[in-house]
């Protein structure tokens, strides 16, 4: 009985969430699909991600090879599935770097103001005036091509965006009574920053996270496509599209098409989720409904 009631409540909650933001529900479902694929690809896929099938080179999609095979005789379906692992391995850690670097910076800049704030704002101006994909390309290509480098560079380039969001939230509550009382009761500054201010400012940063993860996926795939970053035969989607690019004119579209569709679904999922999250957390949009 108790289970039934909680089930009804869960269903009810989902229905209400759906009414408030269908994008959030659909986006979360797509992201869940991505995570599931990353977890289960080892069980589902019929071949190994870099297993060469010498008798099956550039074959059209068929029952044996749903997405066909590439020029090395590797199964494209398997490789696309395994690409989900790279997507997660890039999106999660780079999001971690963005938050770990950006949020403390924003707290400090917002709380102290002055020089730190000035430097941060200027850095943001510089970044805004420059296409970040090109910055990422130049830096990764110069610093060496590994997964760690790709993740760190993407995370660092995006950290100021988080810093800005947290900073403006801190500025808006810096003068409130609860901060003042925390100061007079003798809390150390780090405690005020991370225990008192952080929970009140994290909402905006959290709502930003899926959108920036979508961006991280796009950038890492772009790097791999250009030939910087993760390289074939690793089954990263951008690297797969790069492999497929040479067969486009001769008409073997499947090598590039399927990893691209997977990439679009993943990026779209994160974007939808982020859009929905902003819909749910933005009081301005709420009033209009």
């Amino acid at each position: 009985m108790a289970i039934a009631i909680s089930e009804i409540r869960a269903g009810d909650r989902l229905a209400r969430l759906w009414r408030r933001s269908s994008s959030f529900v659909v986006g979360s479902a797509l992201v869940a699909l991505l995570v599931l694929t990353a977890l289960l690809c080892g069980f589902v896929s019929p071949y190994g991600p870099t297993q060469v099938l010498p008798n099956a080179i550039l074959q059209t999609p068929s029952a044996a090879h749903w997405f066909g095979t590439d020029g090395n005789g590797m199964d494209v379906f398997t490789r696309v599935l395994y690409g989900a692992r790279y997507a997660i391995a890039i999106a999660l850690p780079s999001a971690f770097v963005m938050v770990a670097v950006g949020v403390p910076l924003g707290l400090i800049a917002g709380y102290y103001g002055g020089v730190v704030d000035e430097v941060l704002t200027r850095m943001l101006d510089v970044l805004r005036a420059f296409p970040s994909i090109i910055l990422a390309l130049a830096v990764v290509s110069a610093t060496g091509q590994s997964l760690i480098n790709v993740v760190v560079v993407i995370g660092l380039i995006d950290a100021p965006i988080f810093a800005r969001v947290v900073r403006s939230e801190v500025i808006s509550i810096r003068r409130s009574d609860f901060v003042a009382s925390a100061v007079v009761t003798g809390n150390p500054t780090w405690r005020i920053l991370f225990v008192h201010l952080l929970p009140n400012t994290i909402k905006g940063a959290a709502a930003l996270l899926p959108l920036r993860m979508a961006w991280a996926l796009r950038v890492s795939a772009t790097l791999a496509f250009v030939g910087v970053g993760i390289q074939a035969p690793e089954p990263e989607w951008g690297a797969l599209i790069r492999q497929g690019a040479e067969y486009i004119i001769s008409g073997q579209h499947w090598v590039a098409m399927f990893p691209g569709i997977a990439l679009v679904i993943a990026v779209f999922g994160f974007n939808l989720m982020g859009d929905g999250l902003q819909e749910l957390t933005d009081p301005r949009l709420d009033v209009k409904k």
Binding site: S132, L137, T143, T222, G251, G260, L263, N271
Partner: protein, 343 residues
Amino acid sequence: MTGNSVILAVARAILTRLLVAIPMLLGVILVTFLLIRIGTRDASLMLAGPFADAAMLERIRSNLGLDRPIYEQFFIYVGHLAQGDFGLSWISGRPVIDEIRPRLVATMELLLPAFAIGGFAGASLGIASAFRYGSRFDHTSRFLSLLGFSVPTYWIGLMAIFLFYSVLGIAAAPMGRIGMASFPPPPVTGSVLIDGALAGDWEAVVDALHHLALPVTILAIIIAAPILKHSRIIALDVINSDYVSYARSCGLPPRIIRQIVVRNSLAPILTLAGSELTGTLAAVSLLELIFAWGGFGQWGLNAILSGDFAAVQGYVAVIALFSIAVFLVIDLLVLWLEPRTRS
């Protein structure tokens, strides 16, 4: 407002923009300079090849100035840059500026029409969605914009080449700006399109248009998506503002209301479009790569891949200069559209 004070306001806007722009430009150059230099393997090893001896490596280093401390290298570079000297390409040995100039025209040939089409389409669809807030039209255009936002430029380019060239055979071969069989018109501006028209060579003009059609359309779609998304939000804010409610309650006809909304949304949309335009340089570089366009973007990507440091710096500096120029133009347009900002 008298004519004199308008000129004063414009001069002030240009001056403040430039005052902000110069440190920004230096910042971009410094950041890329440091990041690239700290990470780069010793360039002299790469340039000299595997059989060079120590004396030769030393000579290359001192030729390129690599034996000096890094801050000195930076000041030397910026000093030369201020005089319009971008240095010599490490690979070709030619002045970087001579390599950039003709290619920049090819890139603008793609970028400017695509931006005009995409920007106009995105802004009009965005404003139209805002007027139909919550309707099926609104949902559809929002969905499409988010989808366009999520599709990688290079992938949609490849798919379009497959469909329109390999399957349907209606697009031009994705190999440059003009067909292999046709002769390019005598270069005046560097744009095949304009040069063809100047020379009265209509065959070349049609050929150039044929080659432009596919990449420009793709780029326009890529540009339209974010502009649609943001202009919808901007127009929504205007529609829900007090002055529009007031105008409504005064009984002004819908046509006038629409005019008011469009006029008031235009300035923020323009500002936004400006920052999108600089971001578009990345998309255009990738498209050039796919269409073998031979423009500035493709050249820059190749420079990055081959580790041609002087060329990469030139690429970065030109992009930064371009975005500063765009912001300046946008500022002036906003000044012209919004009398409020003139005081």
